[in-house]
């Protein structure tokens, strides 16, 4: 199956300011792809370019099978859906009237499409409510229903949980999970790292340029050495002679009085060796496990590199 999105050397300048610089990536069909970055990193600009709202300064892209070009604008927009950060609903119209309007713009004639979109977001009972009377979370759901109307090949969600309370956020996450199960390709821009880690198959971190891309575990492995964290009841009398030279162990440091952070090449190889050595030395092990870096660690590592580079 061809990729849902192919982006090559995409660049966007606004006057002298470079908003997006030489960005290339692919998104597979059916993938939930996270696009992360700090404010002003170029995430929304990228979505707007791929959504045909802005024209790239240079570079190319194929969106839902069509080259990104002014001549293909209408056809691309027919195949995709974009939900901006604010859902942008007509507040004096009802939920149903909002969806009817957008169904008309997509020339959707099947009468069942609007009820199906409402059902997908659990809003069947609110169809006749004025959008102005809905909570922010419900409006976000209407925005999502609208984005599902045309059964898009690629669904762009720009900060879909921005400003939502935890309950509404969890609901939106549930809906995105539902989209994944339906095989919808989702391009999710967010600066909520927990959200990306939980929802996305792969993520890209953007800070004007593309800093990294891959599965969360790959990014962790790429950026950080693997480590074991060991806590013993009492400090080890001679940790160096015990740990140095064990299979798979490349280094260690004490992290507090009786916690040790051990750098390893392979956790599968090193963990049993460390456990055996500690037990053999008569140490009481309270815990032994792999120290996990979060996506947040990866993100902060990359962004602080950029901050440092800018300072220099």
């Amino acid at each position: 199956m061809p990729p849902a999105l192919e982006v090559e050397h995409l660049t966007k300048r606004f006057g002298d300011r470079v908003a997006v610089d030489d960005v290339s990536f692919e998104v597979a069909a059916g993938e939930v792809f996270g696009f992360l970055g700090p404010n002003g990193a170029g995430k929304t600009t990228t979505v707007r370019m791929l959504g045909t709202l802005l024209s790239p300064t240079s570079g190319s892209a194929v969106v839902a099978g069509l080259p990104l070009a002014p001549a293909n604008g209408v056809e691309i927009r027919q195949r995709i859906a974009v939900m901006p950060e604010a859902p942008g609903l007509y507040l004096r119209l009802t939920v149903n009237e909002n969806l009817e309007f957008f169904a008309g713009l997509y020339r959707i004639r099947e009468p069942g499409r609007i009820p199906a979109a409402l059902e997908a977001v659990g809003l069947e009972s609110r169809a006749d409510d004025l959008c102005g009377n809905l909570s922010k979370g419900l409006r976000q759901r209407v925005g999502l229903a609208r984005a599902l109307l045309n059964d898009p090949a690629v669904l762009f969600l720009d900060e879909p949980t921005s400003g939502l309370d935890p309950v509404a956020t969890r609901e939106v996450h549930g809906l995105i999970d539902g989209l994944r199960e339906r095989g919808v390709t989702v391009f999710l821009t967010t600066h909520r790292l927990d959200e990306a880690e939980r929802l996305c198959d792969r993520v890209a971190i953007l800070n004007t340029t593309l800093r990294t891309i891959g599965r969360t575990e790959e990014l962790r492995d790429r950026m950080f050495r693997k480590r074991l964290l060991v806590t013993t009841r009492a400090p080890l009398p001679d940790a160096a002679s015990l740990l140095d030279g064990l299979p798979g162990v490349t280094g260690w440091k004490a992290n507090g009085s009786s916690t040790y952070e051990i750098a390893v090449t392979d956790t599968q190889l090193a963990a049993p060796a460390v456990a055996r050595a500690l037990v053999g030395a008569g140490a009481d092990i309270l815990s032994l496990g792999e120290a996990r870096h979060s996506l947040e660690d990866v993100y902060l590592g990359l962004i602080s590199e950029d901050v440092e580079a800018n300072r220099r």
């Binding site: 859902p87 942008g88 119209l93 009817e100 309007f101």
Partner: protein, 245 residues
């Protein structure tokens, strides 16, 4: 060009107007106030007045009625595109398959319908007041077939011109208030022509009326294409014009 998409936008706009009746009602307020004085003038003309006095007064009032379709739509037209941006609905709207020409035609139609309805409403209210309140000679001059035909023909043509000026401002201005202020200038050519006619600098004739009507029709059509060229999605979203790649 998709009629389905145009219909969807027009229906949405009219629904929005219906929920905001105050907006449409207030469109009529200024022109109505505007017409009080000439209407009273016509109502006060005694039945034994000279025909020339009646004709002059009726012509002055009737010409004023041509200004009504020029002053009603600009505010709404100027809001039509930039207003969407202000309420945060423009971006989702522009990410649908609608084409610029369709969007503009739909927006213009949505403003045209209530504007022309209100303008005709004002005209027929004026005509009915004269019919039942003014001297028979005055009434006969107002209910004169060519005069009424001119009103029926020019009202939509003038309204369309004013709408395109308003939408052009809406597409280019960065602020709703600026767009609305500038759009009101659309009435100036109409006021200019009617003033020249009232002052007899231009002599009204059937030939002139036909020429003006054809001229306006051409201008109205060209204005649509011109405004479609002004429509720049990138500028509307970012405030900066699209730069060639």
């Amino acid at each position: 060009m998709s009629l389905e998409r145009i219909r969807a936008v027009v229906r949405k706009e009219l629904r929005d107007f219906r929920r905001n009746r105050f907006l449409v009602a207030t469109m009529a307020v200024l022109p109505l106030i505007f017409l009080i004085s000439p209407t009273l003038t016509l109502l006060r003309i005694p039945s034994d007045s000279q025909a020339s006095v009646v004709a002059h007064a009726v012509r002055a009032s009737s010409l004023l009625l041509f200004v009504v379709p020029a002053v009603i739509p600009p505010i709404m037209a100027a809001y039509s595109v930039i207003g969407e941006r202000d309420q945060g609905t423009l971006e989702p709207f522009l990410t649908t398959p609608i084409q610029s020409a369709e969007l503009l035609l739909a927006k213009a139609t949505a403003v045209f319908l209530p504007s022309v309805l209100v303008a005709y409403g004002i005209y027929f209210t004026f005509a009915l007041v004269i019919r039942f309140g003014a001297a028979p000679a005055v009434s006969a001059a107002v209910w004169h077939a060519p005069q009424m035909l001119a009103q029926l023909v020019f009202t939509p043509l003038i309204a369309t011109w004013a709408i395109w000026v308003g939408i052009a401002m809406s597409v280019r201005a960065r602020d709703v208030r600026v767009a609305q202020q500038l759009a009101t200038l659309a009435s100036l050519p109409t006021i200019g022509v009617t003033t020249l006619l009232t002052l007899r600098v231009i002599t009204p004739s059937v030939k002139l009326a036909v020429a003006l009507a054809i001229g306006l029709l051409v201008i109205d059509f060209r204005a649509w294409r011109f405004v479609a060229k002004l429509f720049d999605r990138e500028r509307l979203i970012t405030g900066r014009p699209a730069q060639p790649s």
